[in-house]
Symmetry: C2
Subunit: 131 residues, 2 copies
DNA sequence: AGACAATCAATGCGTGTGCATGTAATGTCC
DNA sequence: GGACATTACATGCACACGCATTGATTGTCT
């Protein structure tokens, strides 16, 4: 059994930790590459699963922290910026494929450096919590 | 030296973890007590430092994850709801004291149960990262 | 086939946030 | 004392978010 105080302590630490990093990251990505954190994360997922051709919006949503509507808008923004491309899914015309474009891939590669730098700064070796 | 993949893994885990809990918490507090997570955290800080009489806004801001403007508005909302009281600081008339009211203290006590319950659910004994 | 539930994505709406700025009070330097 | 930087908090603004709903498509059951 853990004391309430300890639990609250852990929570506050998580709160502070997350917000500090997220804020820094968001700002750095925005300034250097014109990308939101959510936009980068989305791009990052798409770059990974480049060859896979499943029904994207759905699959992207699961495993990400964004709500369905937030993801929809994020993809819309990325598409408007030409970093991503939407296509109908033939087998199920409700679904939408999302594919990263060449421009998107380039932007992702650039931004990835910034991303890693910020992460390395904040997520130093400390707190490598198991599993 | 830690691999980039591991770093990204840790980050994504933090991202998911935080958002899951924050979302649940926000929703629970809102439904049961009409409080935002930020509002609760603010109230929580004020309830703790009940006797201390320093220049509040300032002191609250430090040690919390909110920006100065966000805190200002959060306190404004709390005051409008009668849970908190603003008072001028005599020694430095730029400063503002924030004090929790009786109603605020009651609301906080109620909400604290919900808060602890959610925390206990998500922050089970796992991941009790040191220091 | 026809009616009804279920699923996928988009959108209207309200809200909380950060950034930049505004307003007021204080400190500093000549 | 007067000019200027600094500090404390509030506010205008734009924006990303979640929730609820809509619109379109597919699945199911009789």
């Amino acid at each position: 059994m853990e004391s309430e105080a300890a639990l609250v302590g852990r929570w506050r630490k998580l709160l502070t930790c997350y917000n500090t990093i997220a804020c820094d990251l968001d700002r750095a990505l925005q300034d250097a590459h014109g990308l939101t954190m959510s936009e980068f994360e989305t791009l990052d997922r798409l770059a990974e699963a480049a060859n896979c051709d499943k029904r994207r919006m759905q699959d992207l949503a699961s495993g990400m922290y964004l709500s369905q509507s937030a993801l929809s808008r994020t993809v819309a923004r990325l598409e408007k910026a030409g970093l991503v491309h939407r296509a109908l899914c033939e087998s199920d015309r409700r679904g939408v494929f999302v594919k990263i474009t060449e421009a998107g891939r380039r932007r992702h590669t650039e931004a990835r450096e910034t991303h890693m730098a910020i992460l390395a700064t904040h997520l130093a070796e400390a707190d490598a919590s198991p599993a």
